[in-house]
């Protein structure tokens, strides 16, 4: 049953890029990239019990790593593979001191990391400064550059599939069980022989690698990066997606990203209709993030996916 559901979902999502009208493809690509980043946040918050308000910083690091290496003549596929590695290394460097922090301290620390990174990117001439990095070539697979949205839709699909597979395996591994124990009680887990600090750092780096990989795809897809592409709100957005979908589940990030992205997109179309004030799209999307987040934390504290699972168990 489970395998069949997964296969059906894979078939439908694989067929979608061919069936969707051209103008909806960017939404598809960005949705899958958001789900990829969210998968890392969900792993971090759900299994390791760490709140990150700076996950988009690693998305930015991956994007800039891929973009900069491609601009300097490195083959784009290698650039894409470099992106998660650089993001993970950055996470290890930042995480070694910061993961001593817990709860709201860690939340503020990760937020600080994001803000510091934005300022570094805005001032670094090597990164194009405030103007940004332009002229990133398209991703080349086997010598053919990907120029249309359909190609990127499949790249994003593959990236998300890899990330979900890794998440699934991590969760079911010895390290995954240790982390779940540590999220419950760190002292008890440590007493039981779980190397809590090491595992926390590994998950932090892994979640950063997910974000970095998504960032790499983003860089090649858009061909342009600037500090403004990675606002603080992006970090908050992925937290909203993770919480709404359901922390600590494999499908939660996909559901959360889909619900939020589609809702924001629908409201965006409503907000940009003639006659609507210019602030309408922004105000509507803020309201969606805020109200969904508050409603889910208050009334569905475990998120949509676990809630639906409970409902189905109840009816069958």
């Amino acid at each position: 049953m489970r395998t069949r559901t997964v296969l059906a979902a894979a078939a439908v999502t694989l067929a979608l890029p061919l069936l969707l009208p051209e103008r909806h493809l960017p939404v598809y690509v960005l949705l899958l990239l958001a789900a990829t980043v969210t998968a890392g946040v969900s792993l971090l918050m759900g299994y390791a019990g760490q709140v990150s308000l700076g996950q988009a910083a690693f998305y930015a690091i991956g994007a800039y790593a891929a973009g900069l290496s491609a601009v300097h003549g490195v083959p784009t596929l290698i650039g894409l593979l470099v992106a998660p590695v650089v993001a993970a290394l950055a996470a290890v460097v930042v995480g070694a001191p910061l993961l001593r922090l817990r709860g709201h301290h860690l939340a503020f620390a990760t937020l600080a990391v994001h803000l510091i990174l934005l300022s570094l990117l805005g001032q670094g001439t090597w990164a194009g400064g405030a103007i940004g990095l332009q002229g990133i070539p398209p991703l080349s697979l086997a010598g053919t550059p990907l120029r249309d949205d359909v190609g990127y839709a499949y790249v994003a699909w593959a990236v998300l599939a890899v990330v979900l597979l890794i998440s699934h395996n991590v969760v079911d591994s010895r390290a995954g069980r240790g982390l779940r124990a540590a999220a419950g009680s760190e002292i008890a887990a440590a007493a039981g022989g779980v190397p809590v600090g090491g595992y926390r750092l590994v998950v932090f780096a892994l979640s950063a690698a997910f974000a970095g990989l998504a960032g790499g795809v983003y860089a090649f897809y858009l061909g342009y990066l600037g500090p403004g592409s990675f606002p603080l709100l992006l970090s908050i957005e992925v937290v909203v997606m993770a919480v709404v979908g359901g922390l600590g589940t494999i499908t939660g990030p996909v559901v959360g990203a889909a619900v939020i992205t589609l809702l924001v997109q629908a409201l965006n179309e409503l907000g940009t209709r003639p006659g609507m004030p210019s602030y309408a799209p922004a105000a509507l999307s803020y309201a969606v993030y805020a109200l969904l987040l508050i409603a889910v934390v208050r009334y569905l504290p475990r998120g949509i996916v676990p809630a639906v699972a409970v409902l189905r168990k109840g009816t069958s």
């Binding site: 910061l98 709201h104 922004a282 993030y289 987040l293 508050i294």
Partner: protein, 286 residues
């Protein structure tokens, strides 16, 4: 020399604003254990409202007072949503306040637009020991210090203040002696809202405000508050003043526009140092 004095006073003025935001977070945190991510939104809300009221011709004083009152009300509402449901954990409440902070964006952009706003504060400049500084900075300091004195007196000398401290020290014991801990939590949120609102109202004439100014305010406020472990308003005052002075000195002596980064690095260093210290203490206690 006169430059130095000027920077010091300007820094104290800015720092007083950070201290107000930070002490609001402290007041809320010590009673409810919730770190309120909507704290900066109270300041922005009050500032925007005051600016709009002043534009309709309401005199200074009344407009600012209305801004602070509305911020206090927003604080109570935040409290109701964040901790109103019995058994809400501080971690979940933190995420709820994050949501409320983003909701404030939607409200502010809808009502007042996304352009920066400001209004005239205390006009003129004062020459002190050869340094010319805007008179408004002195006003900020002159308002903040008595407010902190009143806050201390409130916690030490009045029944609701003592009840708040009791909840902070031991919620269980407070409940046993008949204090309604949840109600005290809402009172703390209201007080925190008023302090945040006061910061916004006072700082706006010297630092214009946009709907997302709350990030700067909350980061500086948290950095000030975290020095005292988020439980001591007095330390938040010292921390805020120190941060303000350090930022203006560095900006003044050629550091450019790196004020926020300084606050961030100070905050990170303090938190990590505290965690290292607490870690070793905990090992001993085990």
């Amino acid at each position: 020399m006169s430059d130095l004095l000027g920077y010091l006073l300007t820094g104290l003025g800015i720092g007083a604003g950070f201290a107000l935001v930070g002490s609001g977070m402290v007041v809320i945190h010590r009673v409810t254990r919730v770190v309120n991510l909507a704290q900066g939104a109270f300041a922005v809300l009050a500032a925007m409202l005051t600016s709009a009221l002043l534009a309709t011709g309401l005199p200074h004083g009344l407009a600012e007072g209305a801004g602070v009152l509305v911020a206090a009300g927003a604080g109570v509402l935040t409290g109701i949503v964040a901790i109103g449901r019995p058994g809400t954990e501080p971690g979940a409440a933190l995420i709820i306040t994050l949501g409320l902070g983003v909701l404030a964006y939607a409200v502010e952009v809808t009502v007042w637009g996304d352009q920066p706003r400001s209004y005239a504060g205390l006009p003129g400049a004062v020459t002190l020991g050869g340094a010319r500084i805007q008179a408004h900075y002195l006003l900020v300091i002159a308002v903040t210090l008595p407010v902190f004195a009143a806050l201390m007196a409130f916690f030490r000398g009045t029944d609701p203040g003592k009840a708040l401290t009791a909840c902070a020290e031991n919620p269980y014991a407070a409940r046993v002696v008949g204090i309604d801990v949840r109600r005290m939590g809402l009172l703390a949120f209201g007080l925190g809202g008023a302090l945040g609102g006061l910061a916004g109202v006072l700082l706006t004439p010297v630092q214009q405000v946009t709907f997302d100014s709350d990030v700067t305010l909350i980061v500086n406020g948290f950095a000030a508050a975290v020095l005292g472990g988020l439980t001591r308003p007095g330390v938040a005052l010292a921390g805020g003043l120190l941060l303000g002075v350090a930022q203006t000195l560095i900006a003044g002596y050629g550091g450019g526009a790196h004020q926020l980064e300084i606050a961030l690095l100070v905050m990170l260093a303090v938190m990590v140092a505290q965690a290292v210290r607490a870690g070793s203490v905990r090992e001993v206690a085990r």
